[in-house]
Structures are given as C-alpha cells and as structure tokens.
Amino acid sequence: MPPTTDLLQGTLDLLILQTLVAGPMHGWGVAQRIQQVSKDVLQIGQGSLYPALHRLEYKGWIRADWGNSENNRKAKFYSLTATGRKQLETELETWERLSGAVGLVLGRIPEAAS
C-alpha cells in the first residue's frame, strides 16, 4: 500500500468533518471511510487521527458519546454539532477557493475567459 500522504492539519479536519456529515461514527470508521472514498490514497493512522478528533472536540465542532459498535464493543462515537456544520461549510468554501487558485497557477484548469 502506498504510504500515508502528508496532509495539512486543516485539511484533515475538513475530511473528518465531511465524513461525519453522514452520521455519527467512531474513529476507526472515520479512518476506513476516508480510505475507501479516496480509493486508498489517503490512509490516516491513529497517530494523526485521534489528536485531530480530540482537537475538533475541544473546539466544539464535534461531540463525543460512548456507544456500542456494530460488533457490540464499546466505542466512542463522534458527531457533528451545529457549530461544526456551519464550520464545515466555511471550510469547504475556503478549500474550493484555495484549490481553484492553485489549479489556475498550475495551469490545470482552463481559464473561464478562453
């Protein structure tokens, strides 16, 4: 498997928030979902995942509750808060603007005028 690509802290937060839109999930589930959806490109190890989850929790963007997993083990489930949803929208906008700009500079996206 290709090694985990280095992700900026902010980008990881964005990915986590987006993943949690679908519903409450535990840490392992979040990492699996991101890996699946990105077609195995983005592999988040526990060393990056849990500090990020805790950081988001301390900021009040996600909430944590203990619950039972699919295979009946005790797990900590995270879900988006209202603030988190709003924050997600903001981050998405920023991300689109940023990536668009980078794309323009790198010449990958044709300019609208031409």
Binding site: G27, Q32, Q46, H54, Y58
Partner: protein
C-alpha cells in the same frame, strides 16, 4: 466563535480520564485486527501486522493531551516546579544570586523612587500638563532694577531662574494677554513671612499660600466642603477675610467636623473665616512635596503680612508673586511666550519708572505640572548621573548571576544531555532555563522592592538638613512597582539567555561522558573570565566615581570659610509686624542682643540678616561717590545687614580702619564696612576708609569706616564675593527677622535652654526659629555633595562585594576544571607555592585587564563630572591609583581562597577524579 471560546473554557476546567483515550485506541486496534482476520490472515499474523501499522501509542497520547486548551500553561507550571527544586537543591547558589539581584534592583528602585518624586509627580489638579509657570532669566545687569523676593535655581544651562513678578505687572498681564488663558497668581507665605494661627485658644505656626481670586478656578480644583476662594474675595484689600483649609489640616485640627465652615480663627491677630476645605492630596501650586495648610486671598496681604513699604499689591518695584496659566488650544507655546514677553515689557513700563536703556529680563514658560518646585528642579542635573550609577550596579549584579549560571550549567551538562537524548526539544530546554532565570530575578526583584521601600527615605534624608522639613518626599506607588517588575524581567532574560543558549549547544555525547575534559568546557571558561573582567572594570569605574565624590566632600569640609565656624549657635527671631512696627522691631532685637550677650558662657553674640553659608544672599547697587561708575555687573555688590559685634563674634579680622562700635547709633551718620574683594575692585590702590557710596536709594549715603578680610557668603563653593556690611540698627526697615549668631564657650547646643529663657524674658510669644549650629548650617549647604558621596560610596562598596564574588566564583570553577592538571603537576614535584602562584597568576591577569579597562572608561567618562567636583580634577591620579590598588587587593584576596584549596589538593585524589 463565542461557542468555540466557551467550549475551550469548559474543557479548561474539566479533566478527562486518561483511560478513555486508552479505551478508544484499544478499540481502534481491535478493529484493525478484525479487518485483517476478515481478509483471511491468521490470528497471529493479523495481530502482528495490525500492531506494526498501529505504531507507537505514547506519541499519540502526548499529542492528544497537547490538544487540550490550557496544556501550555501546564508545561509552564512544570517548569516552575522544576526550577523550585533546582533552587532548593543548591541553596548557596540561590542565596548569592538572589542577594546580588536584590542589591542591584533595590538600588535602582530607590533611585527611581527619588527621580519619580522629584521629576514626575504632578500636582493633583485638573490637567496638570497644560499648566505653564511664568519665569525669568535673571542676571543681566542692564535689567530693570527691582526688589526680587523668592527662591531661584540654576538650570542645566547654568542660568539663574526666578519666578517672581510684581502684583501690578500681573494685573496688567492678566487683563491684556490671554494666550495662556486667565492667568492666576499665588505665593508661598513662608518665603516672606510667618503665619501664626490661633484656633480655640491654641496657637501654632501654619503654612499657606496667598492666591488670586481665580486660582482655584484656574487650577480646576473644587472644594470638598464649602466654597473656594472666589474673585469677590480678592477685591478690596482686607475685605476678603476668608480662607480655604487643606484636607490634612481639617483632619488634624478639626477632626473632619463639618462645622468647620463658618468657623473663625485668628491669623496673625486678624480674624479669618474658614469658607472651604480643599480636596485630599492638593498641596497648593508651590510644590507637590510641600503641603500647604491653608489658602488666603492675595488681597489680605496688607492686613496679615504687612510690610513697612506699604501694600505689596500696589508696589510695582517689589516682585514677589508667582504667575501661572494654562495652554490654550490653538495657541502654540512659542507664540504664547513671545506674546507674554511683550505684554510683560509693556506692563513693566506702564507700572514702574524705567530708563529707556533698561531691559526686562527674558521671559520663560516652565512646565507647571509640578508647580514651582525649585528644589526638585535642581535635582534635574544630577539625576541622570545617579540613574546611570544605579544601572551600572545592576549590570554588575547581572554579570554575577550570569557567571553563576554559567558555572552551574556546566555541572548540569549531564542532566541536559539526558533530556536531549530522551527527545526534549532544544526550545523546551531553553524555555526551562529561562523560567529558572526569571524565577531568580523575580525573587531578586521582590527582595529589591523591599529594600527599596525600606530605604526610600534615605536619599531625601541625606538631601535635607535636620532642622528643615524634607524638601523631597517619596511616594511608593504603582509606577515604582511597574519599574521594578520591568527591571526584574529584563535582567532575568538578560542574564538567562546566555547560559541557556550555551547549555544546549553542547552535543549529547560529550555531556553523557563522565570525564569533563572537552573542547566545549575550555570555551565556556573563556566566557566566564570575560564576564569577570567586565565586572572588574565596572567596579573600577564605580570606585573611581566614589573616590572623586568622597574627596570632593572632604575638600569642601576643609575649606576655610573666612570666619571661625566652630562654637556658634544660630537661631532666627522674627518679630511679627503687627506687634512690632518699625522701629520697635529693631529695638526688640537690640534688647535681645544685649541680654544674650550678658549670659554667662556666651563669649559674644550678634545678628545678621543673611546667615553665613545659608544659601541666601542680598544684593544691591554699590555706587562709590567721587569716581566714575563701573559698568555692568560691577555696579552691584552683595551686602549683609549685621549687628555691632558681627566681626568680633564671627572672628573676621578687620584689615584697615575700624569695626562697628558704640559710636554708630541710629542717629549718627550711616556707616559701612567693605571686604577686601570689594576694596580691590572699586578702590584699587587707594585707601577706601573715609570714602562714601550710595545704594539704590538715592537718599542713603554710607561712609566706609573699615575694610575686613574676605569671608564666604552664600555658598561654600563660591569664592568670597564683593561684599559690604551695614548696621541693621541704621536701617529703616527689616523685612522678616534676623538670625542670631552666639559664640559660646563650650558646646553651643547646651545653651539652647538659656537662649529660650532669654527670648521669653523679652517676649514669651516670640518663637526661636530653626535652631542649629553654624557647622550644621554649613553641612546643610553641603547636603548635595554629602549625599552624592554617600550614594557613590555605597554603590562602590556594593560593586566591590559583587566583583569579589565574581572573581571568587570564576577562580573556584577554574580550579575545579584544572584539578587533573594540578594533580599531575604536584605528582611530578611541583611545590605548594608554585601551584598557589600559578592559580593566582590567572586571577591577577584578569584583575589587571579589568582594572585597565575600567581606568580607560573612567578617564573617558568622568570628565563630565568636572563641574560637580571641588579641589580635584576628574583625572585625579591619586584617586585612580588608590581605586586600582584597592580593587587589585580585593581581587587577589578573593582569588586566594580557591588558590589555597588548589594548593592543598592531594595528587592521588586529583588523578583519581578522571
């Protein structure tokens, strides 16, 4: 955003159970194992691969923990606790470091408190920075002649500045010129009279100001009870018999009773009604440090403090009041000054008869936020020097602590290397050491603050004489705390950065080795030695300064004043004008003279208007008749009105002619005695005895009956000026009283009781003012020099202590480093003496270089002190040599102890310590 802040705040105070994270991670691992099992791996293989991919948990735990808000504070607390443990482990080091810092910071705090009091404390009025005090530069002999009463000071440019104006000139300026708004006037009564207040039968001397009707309005001060002085009170002279008292007087004499409004008291035998109480902290406009008990309208002067020449309010020739205004919006200060200068000129010419070629003294606008406050203004010149000296002492203390830290960091090498090896970031270690430094400097700062507080009255005490109220009092307020805090922080960072940075520069391997001989150590040794050389040179600088000031004081004390200063008792007598109109006051003084002279044990006694070496002089025109007039300042001379036995009592020899005697009465021709300087100036080559001269008063003619030897007059530093002496009994008027000089057989102070009895026999309501001996009077003239000598000596001693600690420390660690080398040498046959000499040689070259550098700095810097010294040049070789010698000896002594220890090392032990 607010929610985020709130959440963070919430998490700041709640604690998470650490097991929660462990549970979470365990779940994650199990899921990973499950996933691999589901993919078909064996249980063992699944577990192994999952764990490899999982990675280390410790780092995750740490990072999760770091996400907590407030985590950062926790590490600071960790550093603080660690620092405390380190300090407790080496109490000797901590004590020396804190003590050094306390001394350095304490010295700075004390000087700063004085500087702040003298130069920064403002009057408690509205917008004090807008106030401007009108002042004049005095000294040009072509000035309009006038009688100037009041204090003066010399500004840093050496000009004589006074702030006295005539009342009529003030009225003109006020009505014609509004560039400083509505000008108001005031004067400190102590300058020209005494206020005696009788309240409910109890009499006491009080202080006060005479103020104009718009004074309180102009200052923006409102009374806390009753009403202030109003323009209606300052109208017809004598009509406004009212007073506003100060808050402290209200508390002292009336116990804050509200019934004080409307109460009547007797001021100099005149009934005055109290109409208001001024707010707390309002000290009048004269100075922040001299609180006034009460404020009276200027219009009351002719009634309460009458002068023979009529009301001062209508006399245009006597300049006696201070004038202030406020800066107006839209009027630049230069423009206001120019406008007022023109208005003053017009006012003078309108009110006085002035020759066309006479000029009015140049007008200045001084900042009025401190009031008139001439004693504080005099401190403006030496204050930067004192601050610089205190700064040097602090620098010395910092160098000391830096050296101690360097020495200690070399012994903490192993600890630091271990921490680095365990993964601590360099920044973290530097932060840890800086925290320790800041803790040291905070402790030092707290101790220094305490020292400064305890010693805050030392300096003002030195600066004032023991019979006068302290001229400059000090207040310890938040600005002093802020100053001390800032200094403590800066010093902590200053001496902490060097050792902290150095500590992390060494590589991990070197530190973990047991042996201490590496390249890095030798380099560190150099830093320590450089610091000590720096310390020694600073110490040399301070010692030279101290030596110069001490010798100046000694020289001044040894000056021959031209009269015999020992065995003289001085006190003032001021017969109140109401009960003693002229000539009754002169008669009273003469009677007193007689009775005192008749006392047993009194050799002789006399009076004089100006006390010799009392920092006060009178001057007048001196126009010899029958010869061409001098030009410029040589038309004037200083003079003193004295008693008949003045020259006999003061033991000033008469060189030519005769002294005053029984022939000179109130009705005989007016006579005078001139001193040698005046004789040589105006009568060179001729015998002045028998010649006549006139003063400003054209009807007054004096005949010279004798020439006396020169004697110092106002200040001991000045050469005896051209002076003439008149008999006070032949004068028409004496403003204020006279000073009695009594020469006693034996200790003058033991005669005070007898004097009081004699004064009581003449008038029991006549107080003796400012009782002191002539020597004490001279000491008070020397108060600035004495305080400087004391302060610089104190700093010099501090510097010696700190420098010797520095030398000792460096030598001790140098010896500790070279223990092997010494052991080898001794094993090879070196004698104890040779080892001693080897170590001492190192100390001596450090001392010599330091002394040399200090000498160079001293020669460069002390030349600015030239005007403050007396009787010696700033590059005085004796002072330089003795300072250098003393410092060298102390440095050698400090280095001798470790040298002795080095010499007593057993070779076997030394070689074992590998």
């Amino acid at each position: 955003m607010m929610i985020e802040l709130w959440t963070r705040l919430r998490y700041l105070f709640t604690r998470r159970k650490p097991e929660e994270l462990d549970d979470e991670l365990r779940f994650h691992l199990e899921q990973a194992v499950e996933a691999r099992l589901a993919a078909g791996m064996s249980a063992e293989e699944a577990r192994r691969q999952a764990m490899i991919e999982f990675g280390g948990v410790e780092r995750t735990r740490e990072q999760c923990y770091e996400q907590r808000p407030g985590w950062w504070m926790g590490t600071v607390l960790q550093d603080v606790r660690y620092g405390l443990r380190m300090m407790a482990r080496s109490p000797g080091f901590t004590a020396i470091a804190v003590a050094s810092l306390a001394l350095g910071i304490g010295a700075n705090t004390a000087i700063f408190t004085l500087a702040k009091s003298a130069l920064m404390d403002a009057l408690s009025v509205a917008h004090p920075n807008e106030l401007r005090l009108l002042a004049l530069v005095q000294g040009d002999p072509s000035e309009v002649p006038h009688d100037s009463w009041g204090n003066f000071y010399n500004d840093p440019q050496g000009r004589t500045i006074i702030a006295s104006f005539s009342y009529r000139a003030y009225e003109q300026m006020r009505s014609r010129d509004h560039s400083l708004g509505d000008l108001f006037a005031f004067v400190d009564i102590d300058q020209f009279g005494h206020l005696s207040a009788t309240i409910d039968g109890h009499a006491e001397v009080v202080t006060g100001e005479l103020v104009s009707g718009n004074y309180f309005d102009g200052l923006g001060v409102r009374t806390v009870l009753g009403r202030p002085i109003e323009p209606a009170d300052d109208g017809v002279p004598g009509a406004g018999a009212v007073a506003v008292i100060s808050e402290s007087f209200w508390e002292r004499r009336f116990n804050r009773s509200p019934a004080v409004i409307g109460k009547t008291m007797d001021l100099n035998s005149t009934p005055i009604t109290i109409v208001g109480v001024a707010p707390r902290g309002f000290t009048g406009a004269t100075s922040v440090q001299t609180p006034q008990d009460m404020f009276l309208p200027l219009s009351m002067q002719p009634v309460i403090l009458p002068r023979e020449k009529g009301s001062l309010l209508s006399n245009p020739n006597i300049w006696w009041i201070q004038v202030m205004g406020r800066r107006q919006a839209g009027v630049p200060e230069g423009q206001a000054r120019a406008s007022l200068a023109v208005t003053l000129d017009q006012a003078v010419r309108a009110t006085m008869t002035v020759d066309k070629d006479r000029t009015v003294p140049p007008l200045l606008l001084l900042p009025g936020n401190r009031g008139w406050s001439y004693p504080a203004r005099e401190l403006e010149r030496p204050m930067p020097l004192l601050l610089a000296l205190a700064g040097l002492v602090l620098l010395l203390a910092c160098a000391n602590v830096a050296n101690l830290l360097l020495a200690r960091s070399s012994s903490r090498q192993r600890e630091i290397s271990t921490r680095l090896a365990l993964g601590a970031g360099k920044k973290r270690i530097v932060r840890q050491m800086l925290t320790e430094s800041l803790m040291l400097s905070s402790l030092g700062g707290a101790a220094g603050l305490l020292l400064g507080y305890l010693g805050r009255n030392l300096l003002p005490h030195l600066l004032s004489s023991n019979w006068e109220a302290t001229a400059v009092s000090t207040r310890f307020d938040w600005r002093v705390f802020l100053f001390t805090l800032t200094i403590a922080l800066l010093t902590g960072l200053g001496f902490g950065i060097g050792p902290a940075w150095q500590a992390t520069r060494s590589t991990v391997n070197n530190g973990l080795k047991d042996s201490g001989i590496t390249v890095t150590h030798r380099r560190k040794g150099l830093a320590g030695k450089a610091l000590v050389i720096f310390q020694v040179s600073l110490c040399m600088l301070l010692l030279v300064g101290a030596g110069l000031f001490v010798r100046t004081l000694v020289n001044l004390n040894a000056v021959d004043p031209g009269f015999t200063k020992t065995g003289l008792l001085l006190f003032g007598i001021d017969p109140p004008a109401l009960r003693y109109p002229s000539p009754k006051n002169i008669e009273a003084l003469r009677l007193l003279e007689e009775r005192i002279g008749a006392l047993p044990g009194v050799e002789s006694s006399t009076v004089s208007k100006e006390t010799l070496l009392g920092q006060s002089i009178s001057n007048s025109d001196f126009i010899p008749e029958g010869q061409p007039r001098n030009s410029g300042s040589e038309q004037q001379a200083l003079y003193n009105r004295v008693g008949q036995s003045f020259f006999q009592t003061m033991r000033i020899p008469i060189l030519n002619g005769r002294s005053f005697d029984f022939r000179d009465t109130t009705t005989s021709p007016h006579v005078a005695i001139i001193n040698r300087t005046l004789a040589q100036r105006d009568f060179a080559g001729r015998n002045p005895v028998g010649l006549t001269f006139r003063t400003e008063d054209p009807e007054d003619r004096y005949q010279i009956i004798g020439v006396c030897a020169d004697a110092k007059y106002g200040w001991i530093r000045d050469e005896p000026p051209a002076t003439f002496y008149l008999l006070y009994t032949q004068q028409k008027d004496l403003h204020r009283g006279m000073t009695f000089e009594v020469r006693t057989k034996g200790d003058p102070r033991s005669f005070i009781g007898a004097m009081r009895g004699t004064v009581d026999s003449v008038d029991k309501d006549l107080p003796m003012i400012d009782i002191r001996t002539q020597e004490e009077q001279i000491d008070s003239d020397l108060a600035p020099e004495r305080s400087f000598a004391a302060v610089t000596s104190g700093f010099g001693i501090l510097a010696l202590v700190l420098a010797s600690i520095g030398v000792y420390g460096v030598m001790a660690s140098a010896v500790a480093r070279r223990v092997n080398e010494i052991g080898v040498r001794m094993a090879l046959g070196a004698q104890t003496n040779q080892v001693l000499w080897m170590v001492l040689r190192e100390a001596s070259w450090m001392a010599v270089i330091g002394i040399g550098a200090g000498l160079g700095a001293a020669l460069l810097l002390t030349r600015f002190l030239g005007s403050m010294l007396f009787g010696l040049k700033p590059s005085d070789p004796l002072t330089l040599a003795s300072a250098g010698l003393m410092l060298f000896t102390i440095a050698m002594l400090a280095g001798w102890i470790p040298a002795r220890r080095a010499a007593s090392i057993q070779p076997v032990q030394a070689l074992r310590h590998e």
